[in-house]
Amino acid sequence: MSEHHKESFITKYVFTMDHKMIAKQFLITGMFMAVVGMLMSAIFRVQLANPGESSILYSLLPGAWLNDAGGLNPDKYLALVTMHGTILVFWVLTAGLSGTFANFLIPLQIGARDMASGFLNMLSYWFFFIATVVLLSSLFVETGPASGGWTIYPPLSALPQAIPGSGTGMTLWLISITLFVVGSLLGGLNYIVTILNLRTIGMTMQRLPLTIWALLITAILGVLSFPVLLSCGLLLIFDRSFGTSFYLSDIIINGEALHNEGGSPILFEHLFWFLGHPEVYIILLPALGIVSEVIAVNSRKPIFGYKAMVGALLLIAFLSFIVWGHHMFMTGMNPFLGSVFTFTTLLIAIPSAVKVFNYLATLWRGNIRFTPAMLFAIGTVSAFITGGLTGIILGDSALDINVHDTYFVVGHFHIVMGLSAIYGMFAGVYHWFPKMYGRMMNKNLGYIHFWGTFICAYGVFFPMHFLGLAGLPRRYYSNSAFPMFDGLSDINELITFFALAGAIVQVFFLFNFFYSIFKGTKSSQNPWKSNTLEWTTPVERIHGNWPGELPVVTRWAYDYSKPGAEEDFILQTEPLKEGEIEH
């Protein structure tokens, strides 16, 4: 029977244990952090286009972040870059994406009342929330937030006296990320156990929608890799706060020789990237899962190569654990070891190509509906291909060395990881908004949002590859001090123009999202004519999802345009007809 019961404001909206509400909490917090992170990037892009000059955007910053001429201080530029990376990688694309859609879709698509543990689920969000507060509070400390890059390499992160951002800001960063990891682990445990145990009758693993497969594998990646970040952070905390030497050796700072000896910053890189590379797929796989669903629904065709898609997800996940060294080709790594990491890295191209091929094959001759969700889903595939191609260059040690730490790298990972994942997230929001809020988002605003974002994003990140090939290093406060880069200032201005335009375009999305929550056209129960179980629940939200008995599944999720069927979709709950063969 349904578990619906009377709820107070506090139990319904604040300390809720309903997975759907927790998903919305993750989504809204993630969106808020996305706006913060995006504004940060807008500010530092303005600095790169007009180095040292003042700007109206800087009025968003505390006065102490500016110099006498009203320009941005260099150390605060570094702080903005660091915080932008941290917020986008962890807060938006990990918690915002996975937290939202894992919470929302897992019980609904497998036919469960809720997560295995509603309490752990609630804790997971509140750890994330407190982590958010701690991270944002670091913006207001005197020495500023962490500034050594989102990868927080020692010794900058290990010596509080190294740069202003290495002090309290770095401490708060570490506290915040620890809370974040605890929250992510609690979420991950829950997702895995829920999928393995609470599937409704008939929902075999072979009938799971690909979104669920992607979210399951993402959760496994998180459970295996986030503890490594914890141990990495723990050693760092001991180095910076208690004087150990895990990452430090033979340091002289401000004329003072420190006692540390025997440690190695390379150890930090090993530990960090052992999380760091799976993290790429923790970000990407949920987006690919969403895309699989959205493309199949809007092509009105079964997903092409279901088993191959699952296999590709598993292979990508496995390979993601044995490629971390490709982030470290410049650390003096043994060339033979470098070639091993090159080999394992390039192997990822195989399952990635399988996925791309299957997406295209699903689209091929489909009865395509270009909804905003579908456009963003196709955008994900596009960005995955574009960014993936430059990944082949960066995965090869001999080629990577030439463009290491340049804008080529920035362009690559923003497209392959940033754009792919954020497009996937947008696709998910547009697609499941009717299920979340019982109303539809405005299509035309959605189209403006998609095309504006698509054009601006490529306008920002595509030229970065040329900057990188010309040797322009990333993270520099200003490139005007180097005559050899003078010729690149026009490109930098162009990138900044697109970055600001792209930021403005997001206003259409934000308006559409919040306006539609209250004033959007009311949604029908199954507006996209989808097969999956979430569309069999009532439009009105109830805790427990289904008012009566749980649905019974009799077929896979992708019976679209099946010959002989009355309509071009068949719900997973519809029994097989006599003589009908399951896919």
């Binding site: 145990n197 503890p227 723990l234 440690g263």
Partner: protein
Amino acid sequence: MDIALKNTVKKQLLWVALVSISMFFASMLSAFIVEKGDVDNWKNFSLPTYFVLSTGIIILSSLLLFFIKPALKKGKSIFGLVFIVLILGLLFSFFQIKGWEQLTNQGIYLTGIGSNVAGSFLYILTLTHLLHLVGGLVGLCISTIKSKQNLYSINNYLGLELTSIYWHFLTILWIILFTFLKFY
């Protein structure tokens, strides 16, 4: 959710959490191996004798937990058994701290001018194990109180079962850490 499924879910949550904790320690041991291979002035140490004692104690505590299920089957009180395991857990913690004292007497420190990365790793590994063990001690405290109140039966002792699984995990983890630190 029916009770059997609830129990399965809770056990699985614990098992997945144990996999996660294992990754934490695996990464620590990998860091140890990488650092030992890299560092010129790696200081070799001998493990304190107290650690040998604590190894015996935690193994004994784990073995005693195996008698709980048969006792419950026979309808006997398990209070004494659980209480002894709790005492052994506290004794283990005490000997770990004594072991650290022995280390400092040998000139092996966690941090400071006389410290060495090798020693720091030794402290961190044993400290993080002990911190995880505190969770087990909390579980044993609760189980002791509940067993005193006769709240467990053969059909209803999930909390104790979960504590036992966690405790066995901590025992195996300590044996691995001890063997590694002793022989690597």
